[in-house]
């Protein structure tokens, strides 16, 4: 490398003292150089140490962690040897940070203008009268509209994308030579994500900045980075050009990661399952309209309980063994529809039919058989499994409820089901807290299938999981579907994931269906402009 690295990490190890005085390493012998004008992506699954490394580049360690050996140099100076004064000067000055969650990272009690001016005043020699002008200029550079109004707002009054732009403006305030980006687009909708990433890429090029981009998403990395470092278990396994890593990685783990990452497949290649035309209809929604009513005592007293409809005019039909993919951005009402089918939310209008019979709208009115037929799997297994119940209790509850099976017979069935989702039978007496994330989600799948359902509602079931785990859960769902001819309603924001499983697609926007059709039809030739926009925003893990 010809250019001198601006961020230079040498033999860095970071760890903490665990109970019993054992030192555990979080980062282990890390070497990483980042030069001006270069964007390095740090990619890895949760617990790989990528965020710790990025923050260590700023001389910051989370409480409890300490440096064991090695050093980090910024522009030639060791950041861990710097005085508090020097650190204050560099951080937010030559070395800026863009945090993961700007909604949490902006001070809630300070107006945007004030926070920006503070950053400017701390790092630039600008007379205080000009601070506001500089701040407005910066907000303009990150393409925020109506900067004067935004200056006067509080962080919570902005949307997620706007908050992220403000955070970028704040990092730019100190005229940085390098930026650390810690999962800068996680939690944003796909259409917003792509705008933010492009903005960052342009800014980096324009100002010849060095960037360290932390992400779990190879698609994000692919969009911005020249170089990629793949991390696992606190080590850098592979440090190579982005092209090489994304096309022909020279390390097995990187290869696995790449393979596990869902990609949108060419039309016709996906799925390959045919539903016979005479398969009986299992689920039909007819002109469904839904809303969340929040009626307190006072509202009812005033007779004011009108709420805007969250979902309106949704009709669809599903045959046995068929999978419906419901896609849309956050707030599009996809989970709301699932809740209505599950009976947790009673529809304002419209009908739900199961196997031709109308389904009573609320749970209390549904018979045990009607309830058994529909089971649900949730996004986050940590939330969906009672932490105080053992695996066997979790699995036998549906058995007792629907089939009246209890005692040893139930335990036997639970063990069989556990095996079916490829978990060992010893797990029966464990608590969910003793299982890994992927195991928990498979347990949740087992709990749904032990009821022998005909319809399974999947609510973003993979989005809380690491990609390698995602793949195994998807495979499991695929197998169970083939084996049992189960009908899925599969909700996801990730078009690539949906394509793996779905036969039919419904695209939702603000609670209305904007496009519906077979997978091949919608993926091959999206007709609605919004669908087109969604597809354009998909980030493929391929070099740009």
């Amino acid at each position: 490398m010809a250019a001198k690295a601006i961020i230079d990490v040498k033999d860095l190890s970071i760890g903490f003292t665990a109970s019993g005085g054992i030192i555990k390493e979080v980062l282990c012998d890390i070497n990483l150089q980042v030069c001006r004008g270069e964007t390095v992506g740090l990619v890895g699954e949760s617990g790989s140490g990528k965020s710790t490394l990025a923050l260590a580049a700023m001389g910051f360690l989370k409480p409890g962690l300490r440096k064991l050996k090695g050093d980090v140099r910024f522009d030639g100076d060791d950041v861990f040897a710097m005085s508090v004064r020097q650190l204050e000067k560099i951080r937010g000055g030559k070395l800026g940070l863009i945090p993961q969650n700007s909604g949490q990272a902006l001070t809630p009690t300070m107006r945007i203008g004030k926070q920006l001016c503070e950053a400017i005043a701390l790092h630039c020699d600008v007379p205080s009268a000009e601070c506001a002008l500089r701040a407005e200029d910066l907000l303009g550079q990150v393409q925020l509209p109506d900067v004067k109004a935004i200056m006067k707002r509080f962080p919570h009054e902005l949307s997620g994308g706007q908050q992220q732009r403000v955070a970028i403006a704040m990092a730019l305030a100190g005229e940085p030579e390098a930026l650390v980006l810690d999962e800068p687009t996680t939690g944003l909708d796909v259409t917003t994500q792509i705008h933010i990433l492009d903005l960052l890429r342009d800014l980096a090029a324009e100002r010849n900045m060095a960037m360290v981009l932390v992400s779990h998403d190879l698609g994000v990395i692919a969009r911005c980075c020249n170089r990629v470092a793949v991390m696992y278990g606190g080590k850098v396994l592979l440090d190579d050009s982005a092209k090489q890593v994304l096309c022909a990685p020279k390390h097995d783990y990187a290869k696995e990661l790449l393979e596990a990452t869902p990609k949108i497949m060419p039309v016709g290649k996906a799925n390959g399952q045919s539903i016979s035309a005479d398969a009986p209809e299992v689920l039909a929604l007819d002109d469904l309209a839904l809303c969340y009513r929040r009626t307190g005592f006072f509202e009812r007293l005033l007779g004011r309980d009108e709420a805007p409809m969250t979902v309106e005019g949704v009709s669809l039909k599903l045959a046995k063994g068929e999978t419906l993919g419901l896609v849309g951005e956050s707030g599009s009402g996809k989970s709301t529809i699932l809740r209505a089918i599950a009976g947790i939310l009673s529809p304002e209008k419209g009908k739900i039919n199961v196997a031709g019979e109308p389904l009573p709208p609320v749970i209390d009115k549904r018979s045990s058989q009607e309830l058994r037929r529909i089971q649900m799997i949730f996004q986050n297994p940590d939330e969906a499994l009672n932490p105080r119940q053992s695996v066997v209790q979790i699995l036998t509850q549906p058995l007792q409820l629907y089939f009246g099976i209890t005692g040893d017979a139930a335990r036997q069935r639970a063990a069989e089901m556990l095996e079916r989702v490829r978990l060992p039978a010893e797990y029966l007496d464990r608590l969910p807290g003793q299982l890994s994330g992927g195991e928990k989600q498979r347990l949740a799948v087992a709990r749904a299938f032990i009821a022998e359902p005909e319809i399974v509602l999947c609510d973003e079931v993979t989005s809380a999981l690491d990609v390698s785990v995602q793949a195994t859960v998807m495979e499991l769902l695929q197998d169970l579907k083939r084996e049992r001819k189960t009908t899925y309603v599969f909700v996801s924001h990730d078009l690539a994931v949906v394509q793996q499983l779905a036969d039919q697609i419904v695209v939702l926007k603000q609670g209305r269906i904007c496009e519906a059709g077979s997978v091949d039809q919608v993926y091959g030739n999206p007709s609605h402009p919004y669908t087109k926009k969604l597809f354009e925003a998909v980030l493929e893990p391929e070099p740009v």
């Binding site: 599950a342 549904r366 045990s368 105080r388 509850q397 549906p398 005692g407």
Partner: protein
Amino acid sequence: MTDASYTTETAETSFLRRWMRVLGSVAQRPSGAIGLTLVAVHIIVAIISPWIVPYDTVALSADEILAPPSSIHLLGTDSLGRDVFSRVLEGGRQALIVCGIATPLSMLWGGLLGIYLGLRGGWLDDIVMRLVDAVLSLPGILPLMVVVVIIDGGNLVLTITLAVLFGIPVIRVVRAAAQAVAARDFVLAARARGHSRRNIMWRELLPNVLDVLMVEGAMRLSWMLLSFSALSFLGYGVAPPTPDWGQDISEARVFMSLAPWGVLGPMFALSTLIIGVNLTADALAKALGLDRAQRAVV
């Protein structure tokens, strides 16, 4: 029910194991260790005191009035010539018996109602919570005093009144905790499966609210002991001549300048008991991860 054979059994053993572990980690903290020791000593003394007191606690002695501490009377005598040390040893029994019964009762009814309201919501919840707010706005120990003064029924009435009054704040705390749990996906999942409300309360909510309830109970016990002793100090608690710290302090205050030992003994005993309960409650909250400050950092 005969079906519960295997599943509940494993649940119970792990339940017991969990609470033994919690107790262990309470005892490992300095505050918890001191607190548990203080409470244990007080309970043991309260149980065995009738057999170990050197003198009859109610025996009057005209020629030994306000005698200073000596080898005969370790803490001297009071204005009626009774042995202060003996009265200090026995003075906590009434408080411990009454509060020891009333606290679990208040946790039981307050906790169950709180869980029910947290899950049910709706108009009943609205109405009950308004009532709870109204009762909680009544000043301090006043309702307790009024009841005890008007109904002259001794410890039984006192226990019932304490259990009723101290259950009300428990409703509020437990309801808030139950509401938080009820919003989680596993409760939603149980509702979607079609379990009955009783089943959800019992299996999904209670185990997850129990931590909050236990910490609340420990805090309530400490407040209850405070109220009991205040009541007793004001002359509405234990009927004389039964020894009781609050009442003895109030009697001995009159002669405080002549015989300070009369107040110091019971004051020390009372304070150590309440501090002990409080330290234990604090350590319990930390051990269960319910301490706000603690949770923010870990």
